[in-house]
Symmetry: C2
Subunit: 317 residues, 2 copies
């Protein structure tokens, strides 16, 4: 069922010209239920950045069992204040691509269509944006959770990227390949990376420059080696946030909330507060992996935490 749904969506996206060329009949009737392609493009200096949507995962009853240190009533109140439903939370996935002129760099690889029937739209959206996975020269990873590394491989376990160098934070690699990682996700991680030859995997410090204009920012806590990346060119920059926060209504609004995905919740909170204090002061442009597409905005202080001020959508490039 889920495959059928995805396939239909993929087919629709793959043939936009065909659909566009088929006018509606004179009598109004429901158009094909099809959303616009989920990509958004903007410039950072001369660099071209594209955000690619990979769909979303619907978490039922987010008030229970999602935030370790918040009462269900508080979670429901925060969702209500954000004018969101309280019986579910749709958590989006957004992958960043930057074309620096000499590198075409992907940041994380999405769900690979392996995690939720409502996710896995990244490949159609890459195609709609005119980006060929075979042209990706580098993939920089923020961390190794399943929704960030699963797109490395197809459902059959074959590598999806023909030539990309895989850039992995050393601390993240060491943890998941070591003995203290939880077994099941560690097996998943090893399987995803195991499809690639070892010589294409480059371990780096979380503060390293991974390409001209692209530099890591150590943001450990969510996972032991979680790393953000700053993309900078000329006077412009954007921060690839990864999972410093989950959905904005959750822990942008409430930076002290500990979502179940934060492996070292205290460190994750300290990282979040320190990074956002600076980002709010500097008005840093941010791409949030789990923010609603196009997931691009700035944070400012609000209430006891922060709020996202979305960058206005524009055709201007």
């Amino acid at each position: 069922m889920s495959v059928t749904r995805r396939t239909t969506f993929a087919a629709a996206l793959a043939a936009p010209a065909l659909l566009a060329a088929t006018p509606m009949p004179a009598a109004a009737q429901p158009a094909a239920a099809r959303q616009a392609p989920g990509f958004y493009r903007f410039k950072v200096g001369t660099f071209e950045v594209t955000v690619i949507n990979d769909g979303y995962n619907r978490r039922p009853n987010p008030a229970e069992g999602f935030i370790r240190n918040a009462e269900p009533a508080a979670v429901r109140a925060t969702l209500e204040a954000a004018m969101l439903p309280t019986d579910h939370l749709d958590i989006p996935f957004n992958i960043t691509v930057v074309n620096t002129g000499s590198d075409l760099i992907l940041f994380d690889t999405g769900t690979g269509g392996l995690l939720a029937p409502t996710a896995g739209t990244m490949w159609d959206n890459l195609a709609a944006a005119g980006i060929d996975p075979a042209a990706i020269t580098k993939i920089a990873f923020t961390h190794f959770h399943g929704d960030h590394v699963s797109g490395l491989v197809t459902r059959e376990g074959q590598p999806r990227f023909a030539r990309a160098e895989l850039i992995v934070p050393e601390a993240e690699w060491a943890f998941w390949m070591g003995d203290s990682a939880p077994q099941q996700p560690a097996t998943m991680v090893k399987g995803r990376f195991g499809a690639y030859p070892a010589e294409r995997i480059k371990r780096i410090a979380s503060t390293a420059e991974v390409a001209t204009g692209v530099t890591g920012v150590a943001t450990h806590g969510h996972t032991p080696g979680h790393t953000c990346y700053t993309i900078a060119n000329g006077n412009a920059s954007v921060l690839v946030l990864g999972d410093v926060t989950n959905h904005p209504a959750i822990n942008v609004t409430n930076p002290g909330w500990h979502a179940v995905f934060d492996m070292d919740a205290a460190a994750a909170e300290a990282t979040r507060r320190a990074l956002f204090d600076r980002a709010a002061a500097d008005r840093t442009l941010i791409i949030g992996y789990h923010w609603p597409f196009p997931s691009l905005g700035r944070v400012r202080r609000a209430g006891n935490g922060y709020e996202v001020v979305a960058q206005p959508w524009t055709t201007a490039l």
Copy 2:
């Protein structure tokens, strides 16, 4: 120059499949500078609503001469707080389409590419959304300012809509066709509507039901006959706001500000406050004509006015 720019954009949008089928070469190089098509689709009950972007107009130096009753420093401060530039304001245009199953209704007709080199993308975006102007059965007008009626005709003055009935608020029609309207815009209005036979123009009360599930809301002030429309089906609804506000940073944040486009500024302010008080209490979903695309959200009280809470973008239909 502006024509060339628009033509290039139009050509790019008209051939998405061609571009999508052309993978990037193995060596990274700047991709074609092309934004995703500007349409966004969602359901209101069984109705399908599509928001169509028509580009934007860049207003230079918005702190001077744009708000009649605010000091330049106050305007700059509001833009800064919204994390927008202060030396210009990009004011977007967004047109709503609803397919009710028996009618395909357009709300206003955009700039027609006649008003600014950065506007006029509506036609490409309609095509990308699979909507043929010839299939539109009705066009409901919020008011007759140039950026709402100019899309009625081509650059050569020919009608763009082969069969649509033009639904016009009686109070708006009476004003612009009467003797007290300013001459230059009245001539423009008469020219736009004059391209259509009189029998296709239907004058209605601003509270009339103009199609099953589509009802006018009298919101005079911005112009003498300004009319919003509520689209309702099942338990769902959305309000087509027209120009009750301009850009949210301007008079959603500051409902007491009088933009130069408000013809009866006091009435426009009273209308804005009354409508938003109710919309905030009811959590009414709203499409704002001059809000950043996809221009869909709710308002809540904030500071001395309101703020827009954007509806999260989703592939779910």
